[in-house]
């Protein structure tokens, strides 16, 4: 059992889910940035290039790029490749709508930068406006 910490923030999409974190320190692009049929990040210069987010709690600072963001993440839900939760550093119209149509628990405006205090592989429990992190 690793170290434990609790973050508090603002709920974006209600719900409770737990799983392994996948942390991006760079903003994520939807259209042109992910392949929704495989649930993989495809932006060549991205730190998570080639990494699959399906079944993970996706932790990222913000959404960038095309307004196709939400539609691409909605497609991951419809094809079964979606992340199971989202922890968003700073929410925008793109990522808010994206979380809504992916229909997974999501949270933002945390009292610590989630991309710094959570590491890929940590176990996280999202419960509406809180995140419990168990460091691995």
């Amino acid at each position: 059992m690793g170290d434990h910490l609790v973050l508090r923030g603002r709920n974006v999409v209600p719900g409770r889910v737990e799983g392994e974190a996948l942390v991006s320190h760079e903003p994520i692009s939807g259209w042109g940035g992910i392949d929704p049929m495989r649930g993989v990040i495809i932006e060549p210069r991205h730190e998570l290039f080639g990494v699959c987010f399906s079944g993970k709690v996706l932790v990222f600072p913000s959404a960038k790029g095309s307004s196709g963001w939400s539609g691409f993440f909605q497609t991951t839900r419809l094809t079964g490749t979606a992340p199971i939760g989202m922890i968003i550093g700073r929410v925008s119209a793109k990522s808010a709508l994206g979380a809504v149509v992916t229909r997974v628990p999501a949270i933002t405006d945390l009292d610590a930068d989630p991309c710094s205090v959570i590491a890929t592989g940590d176990w996280v429990l999202l419960d509406n406006a809180t995140v419990e992190v168990t460091k691995q």
């Binding site: 307004s67 196709g68 939400s70 119209a93 709508l97 994206g98 809504v100």
Partner: protein
């Protein structure tokens, strides 16, 4: 979120179950944004007709009403029917149309699906503008007008150059807006969120070419992310095409939806006005070294100088850009094995046809194509390995989408590459 009586009636089904489903999405979305209320809009630019595998499957199994419900309203309900669009709504760029069939390697099934979609959505009151630049073909919102637009390059143009007000909406929010005339009053809709956040000072160079505006935009997006850069320095007077390129690039490298160029864009007469009286932040300099670094970033995917595909018109070309390409190609011939496509709004292609520009381009072996682009449709000439473009946005996206190499240069360098089959671009 506060709702008016009219909005409560819509939510509760007084206007039918499709409008209620639209309002449900807007409520979920408004909650996600922490919006205080909705605002009234009469201008929606969204995407409904674009073929996708998921859409094809739903249409085949359950028809267009169901596809609109699932994709454009994010609703699982079996809605009785989809009503007419409540407010003016246009379709942005989508897939290629029937006149591209012998030119573009693009599934015929997609062309047929989109034909079906155009007749379904046309009957529901969607204007099929079929371009990423609605502001070039008659959808020109006024200053202060609240809109619900998608397409990052159009959103940044509407906010910054026109002074209209829209967030970077998505497929479901524009779908819901089209049936309700409502969108969360959040972000760019509010005065207090429209001021500058970053100061970029152009020093030691003059930004006045189409290429330079694109590189400065790509730099501005990298510096300011989702925030609002304010650009000062030595410029020529930009025109529509240059700010179209600048904004598309800034929205690509960052998530910029609004910028100010004091003295040029409408909401900021001065640097002080751009920051709304708040302290002006420390400047970030864009000089010759930064310019070169951006150029090298945009060209880092290119290794082979054997170019087989040239792409112009991202965002969709103006008539003047088509004319410029025609002038450069007049009397020339593309190298064998090299293709050149210019993407344009259909309405402007008609003007280019009538002006004789299309004929000059076609005689040289090039094509003027409407409705779509290689990135939207994931389609380039068969066997393309290396492409060149004058668009920072396409240089950024197309390598990821199609797995090809990219060169970024001036329009003239791109046309020269089409004629010689070789990339000879470089920064002056």
């Amino acid at each position: 979120m506060f709702l008016t009586d009219e909005e409560k009636r819509m939510r509760d089904g007084a206007e039918g179950d499709a409008v209620a489903a639209a309002m449900d999405l807007l409520l979920r979305y408004g909650y996600a944004l922490d919006a205080e209320r909705l605002c009234d809009i009469r201008n929606v630019a969204g995407t409904m007709t674009q073929p996708t595998p998921v859409k094809a499957k739903i249409v085949a199994e359950s028809g267009w009403d169901k596809a609109f419900a699932v994709i454009n309203l994010d609703s699982d309900a079996d809605l009785a029917s989809i009503p007419q669009m409540r407010v003016p709504t246009c379709q942005l760029q989508h897939g290629f149309g029937p006149d591209s069939v012998d030119i573009v390697p693009y599934p015929k099934a997609n062309v047929e699906l989109q034909n079906d979609a155009e007749s379904y959505y046309g009957r529901h009151g969607v204007n099929i503008l079929a371009t990423c630049t609605p502001y070039q073909v008659g959808n020109l919102p006024l200053r202060g007008e609240h809109c619900a637009w998608m397409e990052s390059s159009a959103v940044i143009y509407a906010n910054s150059v026109l002074g209209a007000r829209t967030n970077c909406e998505g497929i479901a929010s524009t779908g819901a807006a089209s049936l309700t005339g409502k969108i969360p009053c959040w972000g760019n809709h509010l005065d207090r969120n429209r001021y500058g956040t970053h100061l970029i000072s152009v020093e030691g160079l003059k930004v006045e070419s189409f290429q330079d505006w694109g590189m400065l935009g790509y730099f501005a997006g990298g510096v300011s992310g989702e925030d609002h850069p304010v650009i000062t320095g030595d410029f020529g007077q930009p025109d529509l095409t240059e700010l179209k390129h600048f904004g598309a690039a800034a929205a690509t490298s960052g998530g910029v939806e609004l910028y100010h160029i004091p003295g040029i864009t409408p909401e900021a007469a001065t640097v002080e006005a751009a920051f709304g009286g708040a302290p002006v932040p420390e400047k970030v300099v864009y000089g010759p070294a930064e310019r070169r670094a951006i150029y090298e970033t945009l060209n880092e995917i290119g290794t082979s100088s054997d170019v087989d595909f040239i792409l112009l018109g991202c965002p969709h070309a103006s008539v003047d850009q088509i004319r410029q390409a025609a002038t450069l190609l007049d009397g020339k011939r593309l190298a064998s094995g090299t293709e050149l496509w210019i993407m344009a709004p259909r309405a402007l292609k008609v003007m280019a046809d009538r002006s004789g520009y299309t004929e000059v381009i076609e005689k040289a072996g090039g094509k003027v194509l409407a409705d779509s682009c290689p990135a939207m449709s994931r389609a380039a000439p068969a066997g393309t390995k290396v492409f060149a473009t004058d668009s920072a946005k396409q240089a950024h996206y197309l390598p990821a989408i199609l797995g090809i190499e990219a060169w970024f240069g001036t329009t003239e360098e791109c046309v020269n590459a089409a004629i010689s089959g070789r990339w000879n671009g470089g920064l002056d």
